[in-house]
Symmetry: C2
Subunit: 184 residues, 2 copies
DNA sequence: ACCATCAAAATTGTATACAATGGAAAAGAA
DNA sequence: TTCTTTTCCATTGTATACAATTTTGATGGT
């Protein structure tokens, strides 16, 4: 992870997700290159990745903007994510090992602990949640599907909205995971 | 479409899909740049796109290869495609216009004509098929979903396998489309 | 004031040279 | 021989200069 384009990717992503630029704001490659501290070449690489993750978009004339998500689109993405993960779980069920199931249990225990705190430990929740789905997609043994899930329905949208989760919803997530484990 | 990176994209894609390099074969950016007739810079751009379409992949050490698809993975992709398109159709049903429905009918008529020939006009089938799904995803008004469908579950895999379609399967496709239209 | 037209500035796109990395072949030790 | 180590070469990664394009703002005409 010492490549300049990886650094650029991480820094730009962090910059945007931490609110350094609002949705809809224009960005130039030059700005980004000074933020990342590398030349425009690796920045362009990073930007492509961020585009495919739908964090950045381009205008008609290829100018760069922070992507905007309407609440309708966010809903849509959650629906898609649920569909794809359901599918992944179905596939995983055919291949999953005992060790993986054990890890799922332990991860979900961590997740429960994180949401039991007050205030809830959102970032603990998110990382446990991510790990959980990582194991499932791994067990699904469909690298393409994993890629889709990771690249497209990934964290940023989840992170943005997780801050607004209500406690019941968090609890529900832990419960859903239990059911998935039981099904395996 | 006169940008060098677009030319590179089209040429490289064509090169691979027409069998210029077998699945699993290594490619270098330099080779590709001589195939495309442009420098490595826009080639790298094109390569990124082709990676996200899963036409190319990279080894551990970032060397480039033509992606290999096991029959299991191809099945998997068709399943995913079906899921996503089903979803798109459901959304489209809420928004589609009379004019669009009319166009769907006409496109599907073309499609039927193409497969009625002997031998079947595969490329006619494919372009009508693509147009059909384009209209549906358009009506679904979910640009992100459209993007996913276009970029990831797109033509190349379909094209490779369409050559092996059996006549019944082609007919089935036309029939399915009729049902979708009826549902609208 | 309003619109068209042109010049300039800002931004993205491309080529090229060079640096860094990884793999393969060659050389040496057991 | 077989394993390790070293050197060299193929390939990818990065910086920079310049070209092409698009936006902005200015100028002039109505």
């Amino acid at each position: 992870m010492s490549r300049a384009s990886d650094i650029a990717y991480a820094k730009i992503r962090g910059f945007i997700l931490d609110g350094g630029a609002r949705p809809g704001a224009q960005l130039t490659e030059e700005q980004l290159s000074s933020i990342a501290g590398v030349s425009r070449t690796p920045v362009r690489d990073a930007v492509r990745r961020l585009e495919s993750e739908l964090i950045l978009t381009r205008s008609e004339s290829n100018r760069l903007f922070v992507a905007q998500w309407s609440s309708d689109e966010i809903d849509e993405m959650f629906t898609l994510r649920a569909m794809l993960e359901g599918h992944a779980a179905a596939r995983a069920a055919m291949n999953i090992s005992a060790a993986q199931i054990a890890e799922l249990k332990s991860v979900n225990a961590d997740l429960s602990k994180a949401i039991a705190r007050s205030p809830a430990d959102i970032s603990g929740f998110l990382s446990a949640n991510r790990r959980f789905h990582e194991i499932v997609t791994d067990a699904a043994r469909s690298p393409r599907l994993s890629g889709m899930l990771q690249a497209i329905v990934e964290q940023p949208i989840v992170r943005r909205t997780a801050l607004h989760y209500r406690p019941e919803e968090l609890a529900r997530s832990a419960h859903d995971h239990d059911e998935i484990i039981a099904a395996f």
